[in-house]
Symmetry: C2
Subunit: 393 residues, 2 copies
Amino acid sequence: MQSFGFYSPTEVAFGKDAELKTAELIKKYGGTRVLIVYGGGSVVKSGLLEGIEQLLAKSGIAFNSIGGVKPNPRLSFAKSGIKEAIKFGADFILAVGGGSVIDTAKGIAHGVANPDKDLWAFWTNEIPLERSLPVGTVLTISAAGSETSESAVLTNDETNTKIGYDTPFNRPKFAVMNPELTFTLPVYQVACGVVDIMMHTLDRYFTPTEGNEITDEIAESLLRVVIKHGKTAVANPSDYEAMSEIMWCGSLSHNGLTGLGADWDFAPHQLGHELSGKFDVAHGASLSAIWDSWAKYCLKAKPERFVRYAQKVWGIEKGNAEETALAAIEKTASYFKSVGMPTCFTELGIGVQSEEILRELADRCVFFGKRTVGSFKVLDREDVYNIYKLANH
Amino acid sequence: MQSFGFYSPTEVAFGKDAELKTAELIKKYGGTRVLIVYGGGSVVKSGLLEGIEQLLAKSGIAFNSIGGVKPNPRLSFAKSGIKEAIKFGADFILAVGGGSVIDTAKGIAHGVANPDKDLWAFWTNEIPLERSLPVGTVLTISAAGSETSESAVLTNDETNTKIGYDTPFNRPKFAVMNPELTFTLPVYQVACGVVDIMMHTLDRYFTPTEGNEITDEIAESLLRVVIKHGKTAVANPSDYEAMSEIMWCGSLSHNGLTGLGADWDFAPHQLGHELSGKFDVAHGASLSAIWDSWAKYCLKAKPERFVRYAQKVWGIEKGNAEETALAAIEKTASYFKSVGMPTCFTELGIGVQSEEILRELADRCVFFGKRTVGSFKVLDREDVYNIYKLANH
């Protein structure tokens, strides 16, 4: 194995009724005044929010709740949350929702602990983050893995820039994970989640680094399980077995375990972020819409990696390496389609784009030439443009 | 998936020269006066201990060192360590060694934080543990998984009772894992470690609980990787690739991940502990010496589990279920033998035992009738006796 650091201290409470442990967990991690952050009306409608508020009230924990986090969560919302939290004197942030809500809660926690700093300057790595507030999570969507990950993605709504930020301070103190809380999700969101989980693993799995056998094996295990149960979940989002496997895979896919010791690629994520930033499309959909083109474009950088993927994840063995690799890419795209996910721009619902837009997307993705993207194949501006072009149908 | 809790907060620094981070990690976790605990002369001879002491001195961390921990670590030694630590005013315990040293360090940490309590009363669950001192680890043997686990095993040398104790307070703050530090191990110890790692996984994998797909897949991945690289490691303990895979698998096998949501069995561990307690044999060897008999005796409790094990771990598919299961047991025993590990009492070096001794071992294993052992098949006194008898050749 290659050298690595691994630190995933989030306490997980997984299973039916797990949310009943929320107040006890907040107390364990020192919360006395809690800002609860949530998204749209679903946690209100389902009664989950009220249930948690009652639990906190019974436990003598003061709280204030703010709702309205949107998918591709906005910096401006996080900033208003910071103000609310400071006004309330919050010492703990509780996210009740999916990745967008959790990422917003992380942003609020960092902002409250650093009231004199500009929040976005952490995301752009202009200033180092040295303290934060504790964050707890009650997960309602299996997808982002943010409930245990060190990542958080925010979109600067002034510039439409979507950036993921990694720091150990992003690790939540706890993750309450009851698969039943995901039963009422629309099928499209379940499918977006399945893609997101697969992509967190694939974006680590396709790496130039050799020799991380147990890490590779775990990644392949996770992909097989998500592919199998993802199909069931989309057909029936209240299938406990499927939804629970997907929920735990969602955490494992992004807590670090599936990429230990390897250079991350994450190019499809970077390319997808530009699509979400510009067209406000769902994160998972942006990833499946670009992966097929990314894979075909990058295949030759290391065909043997695609061959291993073909064999171990899809059980494919063709005549030669390239055929085997291409068959695996085809299988993956077909799978995405089978769960209703797009594999190109028109399927993503953004239509065929002009040359100018493709160039703009590519420019923004490489920070106007200031960075390259990915590691499996290092992509420059022209490469990124070519991949967008491949997906532009 | 079934419900579970998971909390594995140990920070891992893995790879070449990882031990150079020891002082920095101690500081991060609040250590200012450190009791260093080690075993025999190997960490002295190799210069590792001196190197770490120099690092601490340079970083302005006060320390005192005590050596002499033996395999199957003794309660009496832990108690003398507690006295030393209190005299020194230690606020942090650093283990430099393998499982025995780390388990002793955990015991010392609990004792120092509870100076008015009898240490053994925690191990026997007579009193609850509510506080401890932070423990850090520099691992030199891949085997016990204690560097990240919530377990610690001590032997009460007054009664020859060996008991494993699980508590979140047993989780070390950090684990420094440099595979090169294991290169000088005797081959026999490497092989014992390989068996121990496999058994931590097998003792979770053979469970009556159904429906933990990703957990099962990860367990099977781990077994395949350890079986493959274990062979190489025993042939050449300075093979970095093999020793590093085994080292990380050692942690993953016992940090909880491979048994989430499932009832643990751990009967072979309990049966093996009695052998170590009475005959002072190596832990790993005690496990392989009993597993074959345990497996044959318990097979019928759930043959389909052995069939899955046969298919996924060994790639075996025979005519019928029982043949397939038996072939997998045979493969496992052959593997143990191939790395020089015993599969019965004579190979373990304790010879054929009298009826009286077998009865005594069984009596002690079930706490003289006060408990049963295992969950895959719940074993009573007679079952345990029968398994010892099967292995008694």
